[in-house]
């Protein structure tokens, strides 16, 4: 008996929706609104990708998640001993360990967003080439992974602060979420652009390592802004130093969490810190929109360049 003839569907299937243009056909770029809508419709995937990254990273290690803390703790130890004790920075900076860890925590968030985001499209080349997804998902998943590590570190930081310096609630605490938001928005903008450019120019990955190293020492993480101020005075260079959004985020974080320093009258804090941070946040938002436009333009050729 031959197979029954195929062809005519026996069931009428209802397909919802109207005909829509597929991705950027015709060389046009999607609007930012439709991009955001599309990304939102894939938010469950985003969550899964983030958890995939985190779980896969520590899958066969016996210490698991503890490893995400090891690196910053080792850094803390190095800076505490080498810079704090040997170079004597801890004499002018009270609670030096808390000070360094505060800066390191917010810095690590930035470094992981940018570093992880840059390689994210290449790392997921298999998916990019074979399945259609809004490609912004991959840098965003890197941001999610960095945030997860950040939360772990942040909890440790808060516990340590509460145990060591018994802080009293102040309005300065509000600077912490502002600083975190600033770093996320700025870092995401940079990660979006670099992840796309990295597909065409693989040199970017190596460049990012170096630039991150420079930026680390350009922000008052292991030295205090007071020391910078005493050398630079109120020159234009000092203003440039203070306009660095990463510096602002680090300062905001320190003002909020490093209780020993924010109450110390000998420490220098830039005027209108909150306002400066808000401006930086506004600029970062604009950068994020620009970054998305650049990403949308570049992503059309991802599949054939990888």
């Amino acid at each position: 008996m031959e197979q029954p003839p195929f062809g005519a569907p026996t069931a009428d299937r209802i397909v919802e929706g109207h005909l829509r243009e597929v991705s950027n056909s015709g060389g046009r770029t999607r609007s930012i609104v439709s991009s955001v809508k599309e990304i939102l419709s894939y938010r469950q995937l985003l969550v899964r990708l983030v958890s995939r990254e985190i779980r896969a990273r520590y899958k066969n290690s016996s210490l698991g998640i503890v490893w995400s803390l090891m690196r910053p703790l080792a850094q803390l130890l190095i800076y505490y001993i080498a810079i704090g004790q040997f170079l004597g920075a801890s004499r002018s900076i009270p609670d030096f360990a808390i000070f360094v860890f505060t800066g390191l925590t917010i810095w690590t968030l930035f470094a992981e967003i940018v570093g992880g985001g840059t390689g994210s499209i290449l790392a997921n080349a298999g998916l990019v080439k074979k399945v259609y997804l809004p490609r912004e998902i991959f840098p965003l998943a890197a941001v999610g992974g960095a945030l997860f590590n950040f939360v772990v570190q942040f909890i440790v930081l808060i516990v340590a602060t509460v145990l060591i310096s018994h802080p009293a609630p102040t309005l300065d605490w509000l600077l912490a979420p502002l600083a975190i938001l600033l770093i996320i928005v700025l870092g995401t903008a940079i990660a979006l652009v670099l992840s796309a450019v990295n597909v065409y120019l693989r040199d970017v990955e190596h460049l990012v390592d170096i630039v991150l190293l420079v930026l680390f020492w350009a922000s008052p993480i292991v030295y205090s802004v007071t020391a910078v101020k005493s050398i630079l005075g109120s020159s234009i260079i000092s203003e440039i130093f203070l306009s660095n959004p990463i510096t602002l985020a680090v300062l905001g974080m320190q003002k909020a969490i490093w209780a020993a320093g924010s109450q110390d009258p000998t420490q220098f804090w830039p005027s209108h810190l909150a306002l400066r941070m808000l401006i930086a946040l506004g600029v970062s938002f604009i950068l994020l929109i620009v970054a998305q436009r650049i990403f949308a333009r570049l992503q059309g050729n991802f599949a054939q360049e990888l």
Binding site: M1, E2, Q3, F6, G7, A8, P9, T10, A11, D12, R13, V15, E16, G17, H18, L19, R20, E21, V22, S23, N24, S25, G26, G27, Y42, Q44, L45, R48, L49, R52, R55, A56, K59, N60, G126, L127, K129, K130, V131, Y132, L133, D203, G300, N301, A303, Q304
Partner: protein, 398 residues
């Protein structure tokens, strides 16, 4: 079949690939002047337009490099066209690569959820079909094992299972069915048939003419980025085969021995019924005796063999015979001859067979080949079906 709404509309789609030969800064600086030379471009697709109605199963066929996969990727939205547009609606599942997105260090279960999310399923929807996925894949207890320990067959089965359970309106399939063992391939084909019955739309890229002939309701044949045929499947496969044949003949012609070339010419084949009339006006009834008379002209003194082949519309050989098999030696002297084969009691079950005839040397080198020497129509089998037909009598015994 009533007219269904279109689910894919492709208009004037073109894709140009630019090949850069220089990649590093050093190359670009050194060869700055000759930059244009280091760029070459080619058009993978040129002005391709077609519509796919809902419920159709379209086979995209063409030889390597004809642009099928590029076209499928553009329909899937993975690469952007250079010009033209693709419009689409409904939920799509693209089986371009099974298991893309599988993470080797995670368990099968985790990967099912991730892959389902990639195909657009929510967690709740995946929960609902999870057991079916495991059942279909036949993975069983290995579902909680890390995927890196899976055999390649298990890997593919799991990925396919996820894809077919994602409830797509449109399924894009690219060659993936070539992997996996036979029972699994059969399972895949059955699933595709089930999808057809459910009114889903399928676009299938395949090198296997049998596969396309088996399931597709329409074939689009691509050659060098252009559509050369769009419509009936059997015809499409014939067009594709002719393309292959053309390539092959042009190759063999170049290699051919100048002595053999043109030594024998096949002018045609006459098919006569038992009453002496030419076949062709009406379908040939079962049991008829046919005479195949090959008209050949020997131009050089050579030892040769001649014979004919009957093929189905899909190119499957149903029957062939030649003088060597029968033990007959055609004359070597220059002149015109008729080589007659009498075939008694024909019972072909196919309604139409394509007749071809050829002449070769004793070691099988082709001297002349008549690809299409006519076609024969047969009366359909009133009771059964298949490649042959019989006068079957049935009775019930208790």
């Amino acid at each position: 079949m009533e007219k269904q709404e279109d689910i894919i509309v492709v208009q004037d789609l073109s894709k140009r690939f630019v090949l850069h030969k220089d990649k590093s800064v050093k190359d670009r600086v050194l060869y700055f002047r000759s930059r244009d030379k280091s760029r070459s471009e080619f058009w993978a697709l040129k002005d391709v337009s077609f519509n796919v109605a809902q419920g159709e199963t379209v086979g995209l066929i063409g030889h390597n490099g004809s642009g099928k996969s590029t076209l499928l990727k553009m329909v899937g939205g993975i690469i952007d066209p250079t010009s033209g547009s693709v419009m689409r609606r409904g939920r799509i599942a693209a089986l371009l690569e099974l298991g893309a997105g599988f993470h080797p260090d995670l368990s099968g279960r985790d990967n099912v959820y991730i892959n389902a999310a990639i195909l657009g399923l929510s967690t709740a929807e995946t929960d609902a079909v999870f057991d079916d996925i495991v059942e279909f894949s036949g993975i069983g207890n290995f579902i909680d094992t890390e995927v890196k320990f899976y055999s390649s067959g298990m890997y593919v089965r799991l990925a396919f299972a996820v894809a077919v359970h994602s409830d797509p309106d449109l399924l894009l399939v690219d060659e993936v069915l070539a992997v996996g063992d036979e029972p699994f391939q059969r399972k895949c084909m059955n699933k595709i048939r089930e999808f057809q019955r459910e009114g889903r739309t399928i676009v299938l890229v395949s090198h296997s003419a049998e596969q396309v002939a088996d399931v597709c309701t329409r074939a689009i044949v691509l050659d060098a980025g252009e559509i050369v045929h769009d419509g009936e499947v059997g015809e499409g496969i014939r067009v594709l085969r002719e393309g292959y044949e053309r390539d092959r003949v042009s190759e063999t012609e170049r290699a051919a021995d100048p002595f053999i070339d043109g030594a024998v010419k096949i002018h045609g084949v006459d098919v006569l019924l038992s009453n002496g009339e030419a076949a062709g006006s009406e379908p040939i009834p079962r049991g008829e005796t046919l005479t195949f008379s090959i008209r050949a002209e020997v131009k050089k003194n050579i030892e040769w063999i001649t014979g004919f082949t009957l093929q189905s519309m899909l190119g499957q050989t149903v029957y062939f015979v030649n003088t060597k098999g029968i033990g007959l030696n055609p004359p070597q002297d220059v002149g015109n001859y008729r080589v007659e084969f009498v075939v008694p009691d024909v019972n072909f079950g196919r309604e139409r067979l394509i007749l071809s005839a050829g002449a070769t040397t004793l070691d099988g080198t082709i001297i002349d080949n008549l690809q299409f020497a006519g076609h024969l129509d047969f009366e359909p089998d009133p009771v059964g079906g298949g490649a042959v037909q019989f006068k079957v009598v049935a009775s019930i015994k208790s």
